[in-house]
Amino acid sequence: MELEGSSGPRKAAALRRRLFLCLFGIAAAALTYYFGKRAEPRYNVVGARAVATRAAGRLAPESPDKARQIRLLMNLAESVTSREDVQPVWDRSDETVQMMWGRVLDLTRDSMRELLARRIAARSRWADVGKQAEKALPLAREEVKAPGLSRREQALLQQAEIALDRAQRLAKRGANAQASSAAEIALARAQEIHRAWEALHARFSDRSSLHEWSSMVQATIAESARIGTTALVIDKLRRRLDVYASGKKVASFSVELGSKGLRQKEHAGDKATPEGRYRVVAVKNHGQTHYYKALLINYPNDEDRSRFELHRRRGQVPKGVGLGSLIEIHGEGGRGKDWTDGCIALRNNEMDRLFQYARVNMLVTIVGTVP
């Protein structure tokens, strides 16, 4: 009875032991899982990393400093993330990881905004400066042809063309900021040519010069009318020769001037066409001149001599250079540019027509322009 009676408590003890072992096993499994399993990250490190890497790559060509900053911060965030990954669960701090990647993303966002703003500004600057340069260059090409502009202006034009070419190639590659800088150089060169052109043309809008030229032309026409003779009036700016018979215009021809013809002639070899009141001193027929037919004028006249003396005294004339001579109205013109050494050139057929009026002592008045 005693034996039977003692099996009850033994069974209960075995049951308790099994229950304890079962609960211990469950607790051990739960603990192992708890310590082994990392808490699911609340922060998308993978996404942040991908965004920042892509942004750093895009920033590198235009903002290398920003790209470097992002990469440095990313490296820092990576090491914090790695460190946190291996921490025991009670020491892990997702907040630190989140904060680090948050900084990376903040810097990335700000840098990309800056880049975008800079790109928009560069695009708009290129649109503005590029257009201005493209517009200024054709004008500069025309202006550089003006008689009086020289090798310096031609060199400036060449530099402007090269700079605009560079700007257009850069813009095609999307480098709008660099393209704008190159276009600004092109624009500056074109503007320099324009300033030279304006300086050259300033005297054509000077009131006293205009008044003087107008008086010279009026006096010539009046003399032609009074004596009943033929006179020639040459407007350098308009490149036009008008024939007056007894004070009335009877013919008009296009002319070409010296290669620096818009300037007032100062001395021999300056390629400028003289201005003043002259007379024909020789009529050269075909065979007597290299340029088909020619009318030699009495350059230099007294006024030219006194002006030359004044300039020489002021040191404005190169040493050993004289006043020059042999200024003619001749043929072989029609080249579409100012090319002579200071003479006035007409087409041969127009020279034939002019020769109908030509005679020695005929009045020839050459002016800058007639208002």
């Binding site: 310590f35 990393r49 890497t53 990469r71 060449q158 090269i162």
Partner: protein, 203 residues
């Protein structure tokens, strides 16, 4: 009996925790790959080997993602073998990017130098042609005006050579080459114009 079972369970638990502690992220390999990428960037791979550098960056990102994936797994199931292989691959790709960048940079440097020298040679040729033309006995009217234009063009090209040289000095070899090629084209046109002029006036 109870103490034996408890001991067995404790050993089991300790072993599990020991295994968990052993599977650590491959920090050494990660540092090596990151350093290799930094070296590639320092070698201007962004400019001279952008495709290779992009591949290296992608590989490193993929490796980091794999590490993250493993980190998020139950400790007993973590394995960084694949991540190590990916990091090794990323480091190799970064090295390729660096080597390619160094090679391409040298190549670009050589090409830029050759382009600048070619432009300078053509300019010298143009100057020689110009001197020959100026020494010509036959000088038709308008010759001086035409020469002024040609000389101005040559002056402009000569002035721009400095830009190509500056780009070369600042290691912008691609820009230097592009500028020099443009100048060479213009100088060649000028040489042709001068030679045509010589033929035309029978110099």
């Amino acid at each position: 009996m109870r103490s034996k079972t408890t001991l067995a369970l404790a050993v089991l638990l300790s072993s599990a925790l020991l295994v968990t502690g052993c599977a650590k992220p491959p920090q050494q390999e990660l540092d090596a790959a990151t350093a290799a990428l930094t070296e590639a960037e320092g070698a201007k791979a962004d400019t001279y080997a952008s495709a290779e550098l992009g591949a290296a960056r992608d590989a490193l990102n993929a490796a980091k993602q794999e590490i993250e994936t493993q980190n998020n797994k139950f400790a007993l199931f973590r394995s960084y073998k694949n991540a190590i292989a990916m990091l090794t691959d990323a480091a190799a790709k970064a090295k390729t990017a660096k080597d390619t960048a160094v090679a391409n940079k040298e190549k670009a440097k050589g090409e830029a130098r050759a382009a600048i020298d070619n432009a300078k040679n053509l300019i010298t040729q143009a100057q020689t042609e110009m001197t020959t033309l100026e020494g010509c006995k036959r000088k038709p009217k308008g010759f001086a005006a035409d020469m002024t234009v040609l000389k101005g063009n040559l002056d402009g090209i000569v002035a721009e050579v400095a830009n190509a040289e500056n780009a070369f000095t600042s290691e912008d070899f691609l820009g230097a080459k592009s500028t020099a090629e443009s100048l060479a084209g213009r100088a060649q046109t000028l040489v042709t114009d001068l030679q045509n002029a010589k033929t035309k006036i029978k110099c």
